[in-house]
Symmetry: C2
Subunit: 390 residues, 2 copies
DNA sequence: GGTAGTTTGTAAACTCCACAGCGATTTTGA
DNA sequence: TCAAAATCGCTGTGGAGTTTACAAACTACC
């Protein structure tokens, strides 16, 4: 706060700011000519030219020499944001699998590594698998650890400010694990730990079903039920990171809701508890009466908590994610119907388009946001990996 | 969005930015010397000097010539933010009264005008009273309409983007009233209309019980029950302005909750329905058994909706406002107890410190925020009333 | 009462940045 | 081959902030 006041701007800072706006313009454009950049930024052409050359020298931009030109006049040199100056990693530690994604600064996926993990593996086994998957990701992509600018890990359970899931977590023995500390000797860059449901919401806003919305309620509908909130375009964690945990209210029957599906009469004994829900959805789709009522009961329970969130926040969109979003065809319509009964204004209700990869994608997005925050918000630093602050 | 890109900074813009930081530093400081300002802003002393003189010339600052100095050295000239360059008005249109406040740009109250209105007055009578109170406020303070830089009006019921309470409102015949349009021929400055409960929340964060918090749930506890949300320091309206309306959920018994008090056995027939609640609180304080159970039942109902909001948002503070906050001594403790039962993490629960003036104060705050947004965010304009954009 | 020390106010010189304008260069099309 | 069009690169101009230097004003102390 006291530091906020010292914003006196020097001439060098002016250059910094202008470099920043040029980089920003470059980032969401295909390779661009100086004249185009001048138009985009409002700066003069010679001015942009100097800045662009500076960006190339410092490593933020690449030059694309003109090829065969189609327009009249001398073909222009083009500049391109050097998205490969750094990379970020997003990891999803689920109950059954660990998924790691590696992407450049534009968010272009360059490597995907997946490993399955035993559902009741103890923390040390899970951490070993994490270590291995990180090593493999770096090795396969040929990147060294100091080319990684941020790492985000998604875990189940609410994550507090220190990056721990101390409140509760379904993973056995996971409450005292400090993931950031565990990876801190491998990476010097920021390491973020975040709740999986929150990350999935970020992903849906980035590349998924809600890429047009700023106010989103994301529902994790699966064997666990959860929710997370994006308000005014920003993921909201609440004061202690427990925002969205409306399922803890007993009147909201989210804890027991999936049991409507599991305990549906008619599920064959050969179907494992984990697959029961899928069986019921299929049966409902085929017209099975018991299965249909089970689904309806499930949705009715799901809708109560959803309505509470909708009334509390008045979002533009509700996104149905989680494992059950594969059966969105059966869930969306009754969910809309219930919400219409319960809410003042019914938001758009949409199904996730990202499925099981959403968490890891959201982890990427959060890592990219962290890089943005560190390098592109105050001023333009040199294109090197930011250091984690203690 | 496309306009956002054109942020190329000129040298004149640099001056604008530095002027802005100096004004910002001046605003939350007593009269300040150039040397102090240089320290605060990080600019050089001569640099600040030119800027300060420019601010005086344009009317943003005043010079305070040095008086008797107590320290060694030549006594310094001091500069002061000219808070009287403009004024804002905050108005609360309640069921029984209309309250108008006039304050300068620092938020210093300079005039208060109050008029009572018949509870079932029709819209035209209420609008006439509004017109009169506006005229009186201007006349008594000796200000002309073009010295007013923003006006905010607080009304009951959710307010949509157009400033109308089309969804519903307890005031008779009020749904089609367009307050901003009604006042638009009197003022050229921005005219904002906002829900009273939301404004009261703003006030509590500004000068009230939650001035240390960024994540706040404000409860309006009275004959109506409502809530509003401040998240990350910003009042959240939701996509269509209906955020906080959790009371619309039937499982949340907010609509019926006050009837526990009104229908408490033992209320004398001589007590009017409006005063019944106050009677019950007094009786409970005196030890009346029926009154105590009525209060407890009321709090239990209030707590369900509050818990839903707390679980959804994980706020730092819950502020109890509205008419019943006068009886916070009876409400706070049982409310905390209930929340402890229902929530994962229990926030601070505090009573409003502003009482019935909160809405008008919040209206002032919103008007000041609007002025800030227009004059102090992009660059520093001349110190004249901003024009309402169509 | 005078002088040293300290702080403020102001002017000058300097540096740096963006801009405007001009000519040179390179390509297309007639 | 020449004109038109667009880009590239250079130079001079003006403005903003900084540093440096010095005069002015005040306190403290001898």
């Amino acid at each position: 706060m006291t530091d906020q006041a010292t914003t006196g701007a020097d001439l060098s800072r002016l250059r910094e700011l202008n470099s920043l706006t040029v980089v920003r313009a470059l980032r969401d454009q295909p390779p661009t000519t100086v004249t185009e950049l001048a138009g985009l930024t409002g700066l003069s052409r010679p001015g942009v030219d100097v800045i662009a050359q500076g960006l190339v020298a410092s490593g933020w931009a690449d030059v694309v020499e003109p090829g065969a030109s189609s327009t009249v006049g001398r073909p222009a040199r083009r500049y391109r944001f050097r998205a490969t100056a750094g990379y970020v990693i997003g990891i999803d530690i689920g109950a059954h699998k660990i998924l790691a994604l590696l992407a450049d600064l534009d968010g272009n996926l360059s490597h995907t590594v997946r490993r399955s993990v035993d559902a009741d593996a103890d923390p040390s086994a899970r951490l070993a698998a994490l270590d291995e998957i990180v090593a493999v990701t770096l090795a396969e992509s040929g990147k060294s650890a100091d080319e990684i600018w941020a790492v985000t890990i998604g875990v189940t359970g609410p994550v507090d400010a220190s990056g721990r899931t101390s409140l509760f977590t379904p993973l056995p023995g996971w409450r005292t694990v400090d993931l950031a500390a565990h990876l801190s000797d491998r990476f010097t860059c920021p390491i973020l730990v975040e709740n999986d449901c929150k990350l999935a919401a970020l992903a849906e806003r980035w590349q998924g079903a809600a890429d047009d919305a700023d106010d989103i309620v994301f529902l994790l509908a699966g064997m666990r039920t959860g929710a997370s909130l994006i308000i005014d375009g920003v993921l909201r964690r609440g004061f202690a990171g427990a925002a969205g945990e409306i399922g803890a209210l007993k009147a909201v029957r989210w804890l027991a809701a999936p049991s409507h599906l599991q305990k549906c009469p008619g599920v064959p004994a050969t179907v494992s508890p984990d697959d029961a829900a899928a069986w019921v959805f299929n049966a409902a789709r085929a017209g099975n009466r018991d299965a249909r009522t089970a689904v309806n009961r499930y949705v009715k329970d799901l809708a109560v908590g959803t309505a509470a969130l909708v009334l509390a926040l008045d979002p533009q969109v509700v996104v149905l994610g989680g494992g059950f979003s594969r059966s969105a065809d059966l869930v969306l319509d009754p969910l809309r119907r219930e919400l219409r009964k319960l809410c003042l204004r019914v938001p758009d209700v949409r199904a996730s388009t990202l499925g099981a990869d959403g968490v890891a994608l959201g982890a990427l997005r959060l890592a990219l946001d962290e890089v943005d925050r560190r390098l592109f918000s105050v001023g333009l630093s040199a294109p090197v990996a930011p250091r984690r602050d203690v």
